[in-house]
């Protein structure tokens, strides 16, 4: 009975703390909502098609114009510049007006038809990965098909049947099936990883801030006594309202991603909702572990932000964990966000049975128990609050 009363008082105290300062509202609701809108709106087109590129046509023949027409007809690239030389085109790459260029050499037509094997060179600026890759893909397609059409003409003139000559261009092809994201939509890929990342970051920061702020202001003794002296009740009472708010905000973000934007949700929506709530709790526990080990507002906050920002990279959203150095990749398994991401891949993108993701849910459930071990240390510091700037 006493415990319930303590819990109620701490929850009220926590709610009071949350509404007492604008920064809590901004951090808990403002930032995640801004970020989900930011990503959905910024990455709206899905693929940055029509990459600005240049053409260097040194041949100016009927065949080279045909090549330029094929390039212009592609949705991947946009021939926005015509240059007279390689140097001029390279200069355009270096000042950023184009992301690549395609060079048709002098006497291209003459050599191609005369079996003299001219070389088509295409250059893409890979310092910008996405447009560079798209331009490369477009250039390669045109370069290969140009070569192919000449092969076909030669074969037909050598007496090979028209149909067979067509097949001979590409006797075997791979038929791509990008499962779950057939449009290769970047927004699906980035929004689903970065928005939960921002939520995880804010959960950790707010948890650390709200607990250490009590220590900084010296009100932690009152906080503990409100909870009847139990650190577990105190922490539970303080964090429960935040859990509810963050989970609701997270679910709202999910509904914007999966509902409003119709991003792939091939499994049961409840599995994702459940994962979001568990991730919020796991991140709070992660923050508690930091606070328990270092009950100093500035240090704990700095560490939470350093880890929060690093987790965008180390959880392997963009570069796979399997390819990282083992000693680095192992850290990804210490971060709650990693498990949410893996659940998302299984349950939303691929829609496979829950059974295959069971360990990820369990991993998220482990974090609160680890945090419990460190609460004793936090209690000690709450009873003797010292603010070290």
């Amino acid at each position: 009975m006493k415990r319930t009363a303590g819990l109620r008082t701490t929850i009220l105290r926590s709610l009071h703390q949350l509404v007492s300062r604008k920064i809590y509202i901004a951090a808990m609701i403002g930032v995640p909502v801004f970020c989900v809108i930011f990503f959905l709106s910024l990455l709206g087109p899905g693929l940055p098609l029509k990459v600005p590129t240049a053409i260097v046509d040194l041949d100016n023949s009927q065949m080279s114009r045909q090549v330029i027409r094929s390039l212009n007809a592609m949705e991947l690239v946009d021939i926005s510049d015509r240059c007279d030389s390689y140097v001029e085109a390279l200069d355009k790459v270096k000042n950023g007006s184009v992301f690549g260029f395609f060079v048709i050499p002098t006497d291209f037509q003459q050599k191609a038809l005369g079996n003299d094997t001219p070389t088509i060179d295409y250059y893409t600026n890979l310092t910008y990965f996405v447009p560079g890759t798209l331009a490369y893909k477009g250039f390669k397609t045109v370069a290969v098909s140009t070569s192919g059409s000449i092969v076909k003409t030669t074969l037909v003139s050598a007496g090979v049947g028209d149909r067979m000559a067509g097949t001979m261009l590409q006797p075997m092809v791979f038929q791509e099936h990008p499962m779950g994201n057939p449009w290769l939509n970047y927004s699906i890929y980035l929004t689903n990883s970065f928005v939960p990342g921002v939520i995880a970051l804010m959960v950790m920061l707010v948890t650390v801030f709200s607990i250490c702020d009590e220590i900084k202001r010296g009100t932690s003794v009152g906080w503990l006594s409100d909870a009847g002296g139990s650190i577990v009740t105190a922490v539970a009472g303080k964090l429960l309202p935040q859990t509810v708010i963050f989970s609701l905000v997270g679910i709202m973000c999910q509904s914007l991603i999966f509902g409003w934007s119709h991003f792939p949700l091939n499994g049961n929506p409840w599995h994702m909702v459940f994962a979001m709530i568990l991730m919020v709790i796991a991140c709070q526990s992660f923050a508690l572990i930091i606070v328990g080990a270092l009950p100093n507002l500035r240090l704990a906050l700095s560490i939470a932000s350093l880890i929060g920002i690093l987790s965008f990279s180390v959880t392997g959203f963009s570069f796979p964990v399997q390819s990282m150095y083992g000693s680095i990749g192992i850290f990804s398994y210490l971060i709650p966000l990693r498990y949410y991401f893996l659940i998302y891949v299984d349950q939303a993108l691929n829609g496979i049975p829950l059974y295959f993701s069971r360990w990820y849910y369990i991993a998220l459930l482990v974090f609160p128990f680890v945090a419990l071990l460190l609460l004793g240390n936090l209690k000690k510091h709450c009873l003797r609050p010292v603010y070290v700037p």
Binding site: Y122, V160, F174, V198, S305
Partner: protein, 403 residues
């Protein structure tokens, strides 16, 4: 302050004196604040190293792939061998059917399935096109990109082999038709190995410079607000100086501290990890100077939102992600709508990343990057005016009246 207001020479002298005093005081403030030291020194020193270590394997190799061979002929086995030999893929085994392969994929044992159809070799023998389905798991586009590139090469090489054999069988070999009449050659500028660290780190380090400056500056500002709150509106550690001298004096202090750090980040980090590093260091340093200045003044403007030392973290940290995307490193700026382009224009790192990448990775010169360079100076000016207004009307007001 200005007792002898009639004499402009004395005014100027006093202004410079107060500038030097602000500068000296700021040094003391920075070095007596462990929180700021963490952002000003530890973060720019360690973060670039940590980030590069994460991405340093550069390319994705040996992605586990399952093969379903319904054909079981010499040709199909050759294809499987070619797939296994590709740098990006590793065949973990033959699955009996698609269901089994799918089970492997669901258990996270492989990330792609290649299903060789039962009539694969028959079609090749008949001179018809053989189509091989390739199912890829799409959680990471980098994996898909690597596998697709290998498969395209395989289909071209294997295709050329098949063509040569078929034409030879038809008695057409030797007439040059089997070889490609046109050579095509791809060149990757700035990142010739298509490595991920080589692509992302030059941009990230510029963003780290900006964010660490902004975090440090706002934390110092938050500390000053706290002192003012405790002392009835007066910051006892603040030098009484004109707002312009305060802004410039502080900025000079941070610039001096950041000079060695910037050389370390822009020169030694790429050097240490053998990342692309083609441009001249002088150009890069001259280019980055206005970005540092703009970031400092932007930090001073952002102090409006920071009323406490630690709240700077809550307000600033998440912006790193937003600024990263606005800079166009991941999602190119030409594909953004006007609003986000405009927002990106206001962030020093946007121009900093753009120009530094071109100087560092593409070997561009300062002249070739005149546009971002000028934009950075404009931003410096705009944020200086903002910072001036902050010190003139918000932060320093109460204390000036009291004095």
């Amino acid at each position: 302050m200005c007792l002898n207001a009639m004499n402009p020479m004395t005014d100027i002298k006093n202004w410079f004196r107060s500038l030097l005093l602000v500068w000296r005081r700021e040094f003391k403030l920075v070095f007596s604040d462990p929180g700021v030291l963490l952002f000003f020194f530890a973060l720019p020193t360690l973060y670039p190293v940590v980030y590069t270590l994460i991405y340093n394997p550069e390319i994705v190799r040996e992605i586990p792939v399952a093969v379903v061979d319904n054909c079981r002929t010499g040709e199909s086995r050759k294809l499987a061998r070619m797939i296994d030999a590709a740098e990006s893929m590793h065949v973990i085994g033959y699955a009996t059917d698609l269901q089994e392969a799918r089970r492997w994929m669901n258990s996270h044992d492989c990330f792609a399935i290649i299903e060789i159809p039962h009539d694969y070799s028959k079609r090749i023998g008949r001179g018809e096109q053989a189509v091989v389905p390739f199912y890829a798991e799409m959680s990471l586009l980098l994996r898909y990109r690597a596998m697709l590139a290998s498969l395209t090469d395989i289909s071209l090489t294997n295709g050329a082999d098949i063509r040569a054999t078929t034409l030879a069988a038809a008695g057409l070999s030797g007439s040059g038709e089997s070889a490609s009449p046109v050579n095509t050659e791809a060149h990757f500028l700035g990142d010739p190995d298509q490595g991920f660290a080589s692509f992302v780190i030059p941009g990230i380090i510029v963003l780290i410079l900006q964010q660490s400056l902004v975090l440090g500056v706002t934390m110092l500002g938050g500390g000053a607000v706290e002192r003012r709150r405790r002392n009835g509106g007066i910051d006892p550690l603040q030098i009484q100086a004109p707002a312009s001298a305060t802004c410039i004096g502080k900025a000079l202090c941070y610039l001096v501290l950041y000079l060695p750090l910037t050389i370390y980040i822009l020169h030694y980090v790429p050097e240490m990890f053998l990342l692309p590093h083609n441009g001249s260091l002088v150009d890069a340093m001259v280019f980055i100077m206005p970005m540092l200045i703009a970031s400092i003044f932007m930090g001073m403007v952002l102090q409006i939102f920071v009323t406490e030392r630690e709240s700077s973290l809550l307000v600033i940290v998440f912006t790193s992600v937003v600024f990263l995307f606005l800079s166009g490193l991941t999602w190119p700026r030409y594909a953004m709508n006007w609003f986000w382009t405009l927002m990106g224009d206001c962030v020093p790192a946007t121009w900093g990343v753009e120009g530094f990448i071109r100087i560092n990775s593409n070997g561009g010169t300062l002249e070739q990057n005149a546009h971002p360079y000028i934009m950075l100076w404009i931003l410096s000016g705009v944020y200086f005016i903002g910072a001036y207004c902050y010190w003139r009307w918000c932060a320093g007001r109460r204390s000036r009246i009291t004095v």
